[in-house]
């Protein structure tokens, strides 16, 4: 019994780490850059497939491709924001109009990225084995790659949290999140900061994709499911709260793991049910204001 509980809890934490990473990325894009990025999951998929290609075709260790995929996805996100979303932001009359048009644009991106991936990599399910040896955690047995994924997710999220809390640029980002107009008046280069946030969001999605590809099978249409989970976690944690998204990821992971243990068919239904109940009871999320 105790081993079962341990099993369920650890499985939940392992999944939760990845959820947290995805949600922190989306939270940054929506909370600061004001883009509800429906194509968030596509960056996850890109990260996953890039890692898969590098590993199976060139034999590059997935943890080494971190150094390749990360910057590439970051630059793609940064450029996308500098060209597409900045243009939309400056031409939109109000922030509500911008939220609408950027949502539409991110939809377009979803179709574009997903279908390019389908053309390049095909519709098959792909997987590779890396660090798949079992590790015993007090009786519960897990593959080593999941533990690596969890620790990477935590390290990246923590590093980012410290970056936000301690550096000058982090302060600029927090200021832009609170009030972009005033932040710009105080000398924050707002276009640069928002594009950076979007790039960081994409970077986290890409890293999450890399970690996902180490543990789970991947395919070109996997993105939207992860986007929806990220949206749920962001709302669960409270919009604009990085810490909230981080904790929310683990909560959702745990809930998913418990429900999967009870009845695997109901885990996704449980996510939505919790999400709907949460919106009704406390729409600002656990750490929202």
């Amino acid at each position: 019994m105790i081993v079962t509980i341990l099993d369920v809890v650890i499985a939940g934490l392992l999944m939760g780490g990845i959820y947290a990473l995805i949600a922190v990325g989306l939270g940054l894009q929506y909370g600061v850059a004001r883009v509800l990025n429906i194509s968030h999951g596509e960056f996850i998929m890109l990260g996953a497939f890039a890692t898969w290609s590098l590993y199976t075709k060139l034999g590059i260790n997935p943890l080494v491709s971190l150094a390749i995929c990360g910057p590439v996805v970051f630059i793609i996100g940064f450029i996308l924001h500098r060209t597409l979303f900045t243009r939309l932001r400056t031409s939109s009359g109000s922030s509500t109009a911008y939220e609408g048009s950027s949502l539409l644009a991110s939809f377009g991106l979803l179709f574009i990225i997903q279908n390019i991936a389908l053309i390049v990599w095909g519709a098959d399910i792909r997987r590779y084995t890396y660090l798949a040896f079992p590790v015993n955690l007090g009786g519960a047995i897990f593959a080593a790659n999941r533990l690596v994924a969890l620790s990477f997710a935590i390290v990246v999220s923590l590093a980012f949290y410290l970056f936000l809390a301690r550096t000058r640029l982090g302060k600029a980002i927090r200021a832009a999140a609170q009030d972009p107009v005033t932040a710009a008046l105080m000398g924050v280069n707002i276009n640069q900061v928002l594009a950076l946030c979007f790039g960081f969001g994409a970077l986290m999605a890409g890293l999450a994709g890399l970690l996902i590809s180490m543990c789970y099978p991947i395919n070109a249409t996997m993105g939207l499911g992860y986007t929806v989970i990220a949206i749920i976690v962001v709302v669960l944690g409270g919009l604009g709260s990085v810490l909230g998204s981080f904790i929310g990821g683990f909560i959702l992971g745990l809930i998913g793991s418990i429900v999967t243990y009870l009845d695997p068919g109901l885990s996704l239904a449980a996510y939505y049910l919790i999400f709907i109940l949460l919106l009704l009871v406390r729409p600002t999320g656990i750490l929202g204001k």
């Binding site: 609408g100 644009a105 574009i112 009845d263 996704l268 999400f275 919106l279």
Partner: protein
């Protein structure tokens, strides 16, 4: 060539609409089957988009629940289609969607902005997952077969729903009711203070807009012959009406109609010409349209008409 002058004459527009309606209702007599099927799809998208715009247009609440209402209609048709006559099935499909919208509206319309959008999207997924679970563990079947109806009947039913949807949407927009909705969209607090029963109006409008979506789902299900939760509750059908309405332009009544018609036709052309790249092209068109058509197709039409007027004035 005083085109703008003719268009602005009051008797011209109703006459034109009547002519279009006659042409549409006689369509199966002179057009090939392919055209009938294509027009059925276009009419369906217009119904979905206009229904969405009835509620979400004036109030500014972005609903992503279309797929839920649509799916409820589809499942009604699948469950009752064999035992009841078609008109009754379609009526029940609309009614079931109405009840669902009433329920959802009563609990959720206190949510605002992005929360409402995400909630309604969650609803679609929740119903889909519960149905999947139900089919897998309780009935141990996957999907259902729907009784087949011939293409022309489907077309005429769709045309009927289309006409009713447009009429209701038009009258809501022109009535005091529509004004109340508009003022809710402008400022909900202020609307409540002027004596509008904000909650009741929102819920009723939301529920009315769901009826047509449910009815359209009930009739289109007979074309698909086989359905399962993935087909019936396809999230794309929640997003399409939003995209089509915004790309058409929300400022005018005909914006969503124009948007739905153009993009449904475009989708069909892309699917048949470029079966492998059509979603890619659709995405590119979407991004380009968002960038260069900020007021939708309506904005383009207005610009063009203004340009025409200017040229006339210059000539005069």
């Amino acid at each position: 060539m005083n085109i703008a002058g003719i268009i602005s004459k009051r008797s011209f527009l109703p006459g034109l609409l009547f002519l279009i309606l006659i042409l549409l209702s006689a369509l199966p007599l002179y057009a090939p089957t392919y055209t009938v099927i294509l027009l059925t799809a276009i009419l369906m998208y217009i119904i979905l988009t206009v229904s969405w715009a009835i509620f979400s247009g004036p109030t500014g609440y972005t609903s992503l629940a279309s797929a839920a209402f649509f799916g409820v209609g589809i499942y009604t048709s699948a469950i009752l289609g064999k035992s009841l006559p078609l008109p009754v099935v379609i009526g029940i499909g609309g009614l079931a969607s109405f009840m669902l919208a009433l329920l959802v509206g009563a609990v959720t319309l206190r949510l605002r902005g992005i929360y409402f959008a995400v909630f309604t999207f969650g609803l679609v997924e929740l119903i889909k997952r519960l149905l999947l679970w139900w089919e897998m563990t309780i009935t141990r079947t996957r999907g259902r077969f729907v009784i087949i109806v011939d293409n022309n009947t489907i077309y005429y039913v769709m045309l009927g729903i289309f006409v009713v949807t447009l009429l209701i949407a038009y009258f809501i927009r022109r009535s005091k009711f529509g004004l109340a909705l508009q003022s809710i969209g402008e400022d909900e607090e202020a609307a409540a203070h002027t004596g509008i029963n904000v909650t009741a109006i929102k819920i009723v409008t939301f529920a009315i807009s769901a009826v047509f979506v449910g009815a359209a789902g009930a009739i289109i299900a007979t074309r698909w012959t086989y359905i399962d939760p993935y087909i019936a509750f396809n999230p794309l059908l929640s997003f399409m009406p939003v995209l089509m309405a915004i790309l058409g332009g929300m400022g005018q009544f005909y914006g969503p109609i124009l948007g739905a018609a153009v993009f449904a036709y475009l989708e069909e052309i892309l699917i048949t010409r470029f079966p492998y790249y059509y979603m890619l092209l659709f995405g590119i068109i979407l991004v380009v349209a968002v960038l260069y058509l900020p007021n939708g197709l309506v904005g383009l039409v207005q610009k063009w008409r203004k340009g025409g007027l200017k040229r006339q004035n210059a000539n005069a």
